[in-house]
């Protein structure tokens, strides 16, 4: 490894109530893939945003190829050859994929402010070809699937190659959290290709991925550099230890906390449920049971989940909770029946960004913070603080806007929302661990186990097959809007991922 592509010294960034970066040092060499690991809220995204000019550090220096620089904007960073794929998807939904790909660096596609659609299409095509994507460049972005959009983002950041005459530095902040394994493979092939002429910074909470694709991993803890690991021969556990400062538990999925399901009557009973993207779904979930639904993109499992919560129209079928039919389907009725839903798109659907942690947590179960019809501030404070502590939510306080927390902590607040009332009977979890670090994920798993033990029925759309297998008592495989198979998944006799994949395609 030769010259330094990027060097960061003593970077500091304060946010109200939080020291997001506390003197971080970081080195990125030419032609290497650097992994960045750390818990939720460790400051990874903040550090990376500072590298593309989106965050102005309070102190510290950034050197690009040995030169000290002040990065003021994304365009500024791009001129220095630094580009980034952001953690939150950042495409303009109502533009075509091609426009998104060349956005901000249109080059020959726009002459004197006038679009040349053919050129733009060609340029975009070149980028898409690089990553082997078959997306139509002139498709509107909002008609693409989530994963396709992620591919568009990656295609977009690769424009840096054309834009800068220096070897580029490409930053990928959790690009894999929404991808399927095949797409992840494509991405990794790209990363390896990029290493030939560029440097890559890669963030993921899946530590095996990090070890797989990176040459070297830097670990952040509490806004500081906690150390560095060469990946050759390294173990995920070692990384994990550096991230949290102690050894984590081995039993990731807390399987020994799993209790056999004993209930006879199903808590949730669905018969013949049909909608736009799913047909004739039968589903029973007993109290204390965790049922995972797996399927490829377009299998319709997400819509089933929403339909159960009354957030998606159905054309036929019925839903019963504890034998009682849910009339008047709708989110209100579902809440009243003790159903809770954690949506996948946390930023848009899961939480109300500008509102406080306390308000977000008590948004649904207002009764829990009220005496009579009135809000009791003391009661609310006690309740919220209790749950903040119980779930170890990292926040400056209960009055902090939830949008300011790191993703993992936001997710915990969203989960807590359903628990504060103490009357939850069925939880619908759509990718509840998306974007969470191992610790937080483990925490969420433990919570799921606890809830199951207390009799809560759970429907889980897992983030990975491993997660589904690890957590579920039973797995439903969906294919093309129908239930293709049902696989028992008891503790001790877990099926292998391959068994499931067979049914999925």
């Amino acid at each position: 490894m030769s010259e330094l592509a990027l060097e960061v010294r003593g970077l500091v960034k304060h946010y109200p109530g939080v020291k997001a970066l506390d003197g971080v040092d970081l080195i990125v060499r030419q032609n290497e893939v650097l992994g960045l690991a750390g818990e939720n809220g460790a400051g990874k995204s903040t550090l990376l945003k500072a590298l593309v000019g989106l965050v102005t550090p309070d102190a510290g220096e950034i050197y690009v190829r040995g030169e000290p620089v002040k990065l003021r904007s994304v365009a500024d960073a791009a001129d220095h050859g630094i580009g980034m794929v952001f953690q939150e998807q950042s495409l303009v939904p109502n533009l075509t994929a091609a426009e998104n790909i060349v956005l901000g660096s249109e080059g020959a596609a726009v002459r004197r402010g006038v679009y040349r659609w053919d050129t733009m299409r060609r340029l975009a095509q070149e980028q898409l070809d690089k990553i082997g994507s078959d997306i139509d460049p002139l498709a509107r972005t909002d008609t693409l699937t989530f994963a396709d959009r992620q591919m568009v983002e990656i295609a977009k950041v690769l424009r840096i190659e054309e834009r800068s005459q220096h070897p580029p530095v490409i930053i990928l902040d959790e690009p894999t959290s929404v991808l399927e394994s095949k797409e992840i493979e494509t991405l990794f092939a790209q990363i390896r290709r990029l290493r030939e002429f560029a440097s890559v910074v890669f963030v993921s909470h899946r530590l095996d991925e990090v070890l797989d694709v990176c040459d070297r991993v830097t670990v952040l803890r509490g806004g500081q550099s906690a150390g560095e690991v060469a990946t050759a021969g390294a173990e995920p556990r070692e990384l994990h230890r550096m991230m949290i400062g102690s050894t984590g538990s081995d039993d990731h999925y807390h399987e020994n906390a799993a209790e056999p399901v004993t209930a006879e009557e199903p808590r949730l009973s669905v018969r013949g449920l049909s909608g736009k993207t799913f047909h004739d779904i039968d589903l029973d979930v007993a109290a204390g049971e965790i049922v995972a639904i797996v399927g490829v993109h377009g299998s319709g499992r997400e819509d089933v989940c929403r339909a159960l919560f009354g957030a998606e129209p159905t054309t036929a079928g019925e839903i019963r909770m504890d034998g009682r039919k849910i009339e008047l389907p709708g989110t209100r009725a579902a809440c009243a029946a003790g159903i809770g839903y954690v949506p996948a798109e946390r930023k848009i659907e899961g939480m109300v960004g500008p509102m406080s942690v306390a308000e977000n947590m008590t948004l649904t179960k207002q009764k829990a913070r009220c005496t009579g019809p009135f809000v009791a501030p003391r009661k609310q404070a006690g309740l919220v603080d209790r749950w903040i502590e119980r779930l170890s939510i990292r926040t400056p306080g209960r009055d902090t806007a939830i949008g300011r927390l790191s993703g993992g902590n936001q997710q915990k607040v969203v989960l807590a929302r359903w628990l504060v009332g103490g009357d939850i009977r069925l939880l619908l979890l759509d990718h509840p661990t998306r974007g969470l670090d191992i610790g937080a994920r483990s925490e969420v798993y433990r919570l799921m186990r606890e809830l199951a033990a207390s009799g809560v029925a759970t429907v889980l759309l897992a983030d990975s097959l491993e997660e589904a297998i690890g957590m579920a008592d039973r797995i439903l495989v969906m294919n093309d809007g129908r239930v293709a198979a049902e696989v028992a998944c008891p503790s001790g006799a877990k099926p292998s991922p391959l068994d499931l994949v067979k049914e999925m395609v």
């Binding site: 109530g17 020291k19 949290i244 899961g350 109300v352 500008p354 509102m355 308000e359």
Partner: protein
């Protein structure tokens, strides 16, 4: 599992508080600056009688703006308030002879129902509130024109609404006092019940609110009801002041009312704001409307000044800490 290193003690967040508090007081500061400027322009402006007159003048605007603020907080807009108030003045003037004192609550009730109808149309038909209430505006105007016979309806015996024209303690106009009470009442109800959470959640992010089981549709319809009721109350204030009802009497209060809301610093996109801010905003707007000509600014310059001052006032009062994008 977590080591709270990145966490500073809660005292740090206190540092940010004075600044926050200042933005909260910005509408009041803008108001004070405006009064000071008017006084400098015409030293005779700052008298007790003058302030009494201004507060009496502002009352209907305050009530209108306060009601519409709720709709704005929910992320919508109510363009029908002024037309509804006009219609209500006509109805009140028509009904006073028969119903006497009962006419007041009946008119407010009718206005509430009209608000509810618009809100229901908005949530059921899924049409933007801008369009529903723009349609409502034309329909209500037409109805007002027809029921009034296209003319002023005189109130001969105004004893039932006269109380609004009295003065509390000799100096505070009753209508202003009522307006403040209404604002306080709305603010109090929002503060002590979950309504505030529900309204802000609806305004900031409707889909998240819905998925959290917030009764979004009910909240919106409720906001329109309050907005309607306030329009009715404003109409009663106008009738007590004008001794008559007219099919276009309040029509010109629409833009001032919206201006009052925005000048108060409530985000027009929803979520952030309060009725107190609208109260201050309504006073600022009233002072601009009457103050500038009274201190002798010529008509043409008055309009230019109005435009400039109102833009500057909003620039001062808007709390941008919670809104990242200004549309």
């Amino acid at each position: 599992m977590s080591i709270p290193v990145a966490l500073q003690p809660a005292t740090v967040s206190a540092k940010a508080r004075p600044a926050r508090r200042l933005t909260g007081f910005m509408p009041i500061i803008a108001l004070a600056v405006l009064v000071a400027a008017l006084t400098v322009a015409d030293p005779g402006f700052l008298t007790q009688r003058s302030l009494t007159a201004a507060s009496r003048t502002a009352a209907p605007l305050i009530v209108l703006a306060a009601g519409a603020t709720l709709v704005v907080l929910c992320g919508g807009i109510d363009l029908s308030i002024a037309a509804l108030a006009s219609l209500s003045t006509v109805l009140l003037a028509l009904w006073l002879p028969d119903l006497g004192g009962l006419a007041t609550p009946v008119v407010i009730l009718v206005a509430t129902v009209i608000g509810a109808v618009q809100g229901t149309a908005h949530v059921l038909l899924r049409i933007p509130s801008f369009i529903v209430t723009l349609g409502g505006l034309s329909i209500l105007s037409a109805v007002a024109l027809v029921v009034s016979g296209a003319g002023t309806v005189r109130v001969v015996d105004d004893s039932a609404v006269k109380w609004l024209d009295l003065y509390v303690g000799g100096y505070v106009p009753m209508s202003f006092a009522v307006a403040v009470v209404v604002v306080a009442l709305i603010a109090l109800v929002l503060k002590v019940t979950p309504l505030h959470s529900w309204i802000s959640a609806t305004g900031y992010s409707e889909s998240a609110a819905r998925l959290a089981g917030t009764p979004v549709d009910l909240v919106k319809v409720g906001a329109f009801c309050v907005s309607g009721a306030c329009a009715g109350l404003a109409a009663i204030m106008l009738v007590s002041r004008q001794f008559s009802g007219g099919p276009t009497m309040a029509d010109n209060l629409l833009l001032p009312a919206v201006a009052a809301i925005v000048v108060g610093g409530t985000a027009i996109t929803g979520g952030h704001g309060s009725v107190w801010r609208s109260l201050a905003g309504a006073l600022v707007v009233t002072l601009l409307r009457v103050g500038l000509p009274i201190v002798g600014v010529p008509s043409a310059y008055e309009q230019i000044l109005y435009g400039v001052i109102i833009v500057v006032a909003v620039a001062l009062t808007l709390d941008r800490s919670r809104i990242s994008i200004i549309k």
